[in-house]
């Protein structure tokens, strides 16, 4: 660290070039920040502590196939089950059938199983007391400028209401907030309505349930409980499939697209380009400074120190650009989210992404600095000073 001023002076020797290199690095790490954020949120989806403790039971035939209500009691009696709730697709859409919104009819105790959704006590009471009440995610409220207390007309793309049309009317009684802002994008975009009201109103449902959610007392018992739940309806005409929420989400995400592969290949291309750009700059910088490095050696700097100086320079450059880039991505994420009206949800950058980014910065810094540094270390003083 005592040579920091030397390294700094080296960087400032050609301000334009340093600035331009820095900007390339910033661009690369900005991309990294945005993409890794997305990859991370896909990986983390449903993978929370609660996600492991919750089991989802759906029809084995198809995820749109309903299950009989009678399963509720029987699942509740499986040893190891703490509580069970259920929900149903509603298929809500606002104004245009293609403008679909995640909306579920849920049991009264649904919120008990989802501590990730924060609902104030007053709102919860209002929801419990209003038959036609709905809880709306904060993101949705903002997106459509809804207010608590207003009537909310929704179309269902699946179910007709009691009057035979697809038009439903609800009352917004409260808001849902995600307690975890980092991965909570999903809860912000949801509408919950009463399963009971839904079931009473539509002639199509007749007491059926889309899926059950079970909370187990002990996460290590999840597998056994899941098997026990599936055993209830084995060989019936409504066989079930139970898995932890984490596993269910993961397999769903995997079907959406092979995100990891696509993000990975983009990142590969970005870094290949970056390494090349920065490596070239470093090589240039060392070539230009040949005589200066020779002077350093002449006044007694050992070879190893010269090597370290050049390496430190390139690592510093990458760290500088990288930190700015990732910080920029962190700041840009919310703007992208707001701009896309909820279509894209870039999460905040977590410590995991940060640590990967830092490792990459140091690693790439060492990689691109290595060749020039070795070249500098092996400099022959006499030749270098003579300009040969």
């Amino acid at each position: 660290m005592k040579y920091f001023h030397l390294i700094w002076a080296e960087l400032m020797r050609r301000k334009t070039r340093t600035a331009l290199t820095l900007l390339s690095i910033i661009a690369a790490f900005l991309l990294f920040g945005l993409l890794d954020g997305v990859r991370e949120s896909f990986e983390q989806a449903g993978n929370s502590a609660n996600g492991v403790k919750r089991l989802q039971t759906g029809s084995r035939l198809s995820f749109i196939q309903p299950l009989p209500m009678s399963l509720n009691e029987r699942i509740a009696q499986v040893p190891g089950v703490k509580q069970v709730t259920y929900a149903n697709w509603f298929g809500g859409a606002y104004q245009d059938p293609h403008n679909q919104i995640f909306s579920f009819g849920v049991a009264d105790n649904y919120l008990d199983l989802y501590p990730e959704m924060a609902v104030s006590a007053a709102h919860r009471k209002a929801f419990a007391a209003t038959r036609t009440g709905v809880l709306v995610g904060e993101g949705l409220m903002k997106r459509f400028n809804w207010k608590v207390g207003q009537k909310l007309p929704l179309q269902s793309t699946i179910f007709t209401s009691s009057d035979g049309s697809k038009n439903w009317s609800f009352d917004i009684v409260g808001t849902l907030a995600a307690t975890d802002k980092k991965s909570g994008g999903w809860f912000d975009q949801m509408i919950l309505l009463h399963w009971k009201y839904f079931d009473d109103s539509t002639p199509y449902n007749r007491g059926q349930v889309g899926w059950y959610v079970t909370e187990v007392k002990d996460a290590s018992q999840s597998d056994r409980v899941a098997k026990a739940i599936d055993a209830i309806s084995a060989n019936s005409d409504h066989e079930t499939k139970t898995q932890t929420e984490a596993a269910a989400t993961a397999s769903w995400m995997k079907q959406m697209a092979d995100i990891g592969l696509i993000v990975g290949s983009i990142m590969g291309a970005v870094f290949f380009t970056l390494v090349l750009l920065t490596g070239n700059t470093m090589a240039q910088a060392v070539r230009e400074r040949t005589s200066e490095l020779a002077v350093l050696k002449t006044i007694g700097f050992p070879d190893r120190s010269v090597l370290m100086l050049v390496l430190a320079e390139s690592v510093l450059l990458l760290l500088l650009g990288g930190v700015i880039g990732v910080a920029l991505a962190d700041g840009l994420g919310p703007i992208v989210n707001a701009g896309s009206n909820g279509a894209i949800n870039v999460p905040r950058i977590g410590w995991h992404s940060w640590s990967v980014a830092l490792m990459l910065m140091v690693g790439i810094g060492l990689l691109v600095g290595l060749l020039p540094a070795i070249r500098a270390m092996r400099l022959n003083i006499v030749d270098a000073l003579a300009g040969r």
Partner: protein, 441 residues
Amino acid sequence: MKKFLSFLRGLLIFAALAAGLVAWALAPWPVLLGLAVAFALWMLLTRSGQQAASVAGVGISTLSQRAGSSSVVVIGIAGVVAVLVAMLSMAEGYRETLARTGSDDTAMVLRGASAAEVMSTLDLASINVIEQAPGIARAADGRPLASPETVVAANLPIKGGKPDEDGSVQLRGVGDRAWQVRPQIKIVQGRKFETGKREVVVGSGAQRQFAGMEVGKQIRLGSEQWAVVGIFKAGDATDSEVWADADMVASTYRRGASRNAVIAKLSDAKQFKAFKAALAGDPRLQVDTTTTAEYFAKQSEQMTNVIRIIGIVVGSIMAIGAVFGALNTMFATVATRAREIATLRAIGFRGLPVVVAVMLETMLLALLGGLIGGALAWLIFNGYTASTIAGGVGQLTFDFRVTGELLWSGLKWALAIGFVGGLFPALRAATLPVTSALRAL
């Protein structure tokens, strides 16, 4: 004051550059071809143009001596173009697959306000009414070419997945008329399923996605075993589906006599309006009627846009990075050739030819990068198969499509990056005082 003026000049150049780039992105190819021809004529016919050509000739002939640093420009731009074209080809392939699926002379009838086939239900009475509507083509035996179909999202094990890992496939229950409504579907292996048996034919896309989809094998759909008896290919989104006898599917999934949709072949695309009006005016029905082309276009709209936006955002950020890389390299090039350029100017070459020469050199490198990037994207991604959930229910398999149009827009990006990356170093080369440049080392 001097500083302020130079700042103002920089700002002006920047504004002109931004405007130029927008015009560049929007210009169709004949305009650009005209520009190129005008530029070539200028080089051939005017004095300063000839000067520019000779200076550029020297620069380009010495490129090989600067291979290391020049390759940075080439590879940097190739990277940008490859990523951009790959992302856009994914959006294009997705859109294409769905766009090819429908046609203007087949109509899809769904229950009112259903966003997708799988969400709709039509009872037997409605189906009978729909089949008698005017405008539907008739088969040789005089029956209307309308196919009531059941669509179910069925769970099947994914190929290469863990034993318990299921994916969702669109299982379509059809009657005998479905084949006539969709003449593009060809059985490529095995045979069609037989009515009344638990037999399925599998689309080639679904075959690639799910395990055990070979002729002669048994798969489990619902709570029953089904025999795979054939593989079909249509070249569109239907390839991701599994087809079976409608009654068997309905009984397995407890659908009774209701169906999800009626697909009708119209005698002529012009009949659609009358057909739609007839259904809308019938008090016994509450249905939405679209042409299948429109239905699938609408289904793909949002996803295509999301992929495209992501591609352009990623491409833009990368392009910015590459511009700085190109700037760096070209500044360095100009710096190493400062003396040479100054000598040229000392013996009477004007600023413009020098600017043009440096620009030409960069654009040439950019062009090379663009070509390499496009070729890479084409080699790696053209025909690359991906899949995603579509239509709310099933895996849709689609191929990346690197079209000529995409390659062209990639090339445009490359040249734009080269232009920006070359402009400022070129201006610097042309405006550096000759005396100080001659002294420079």
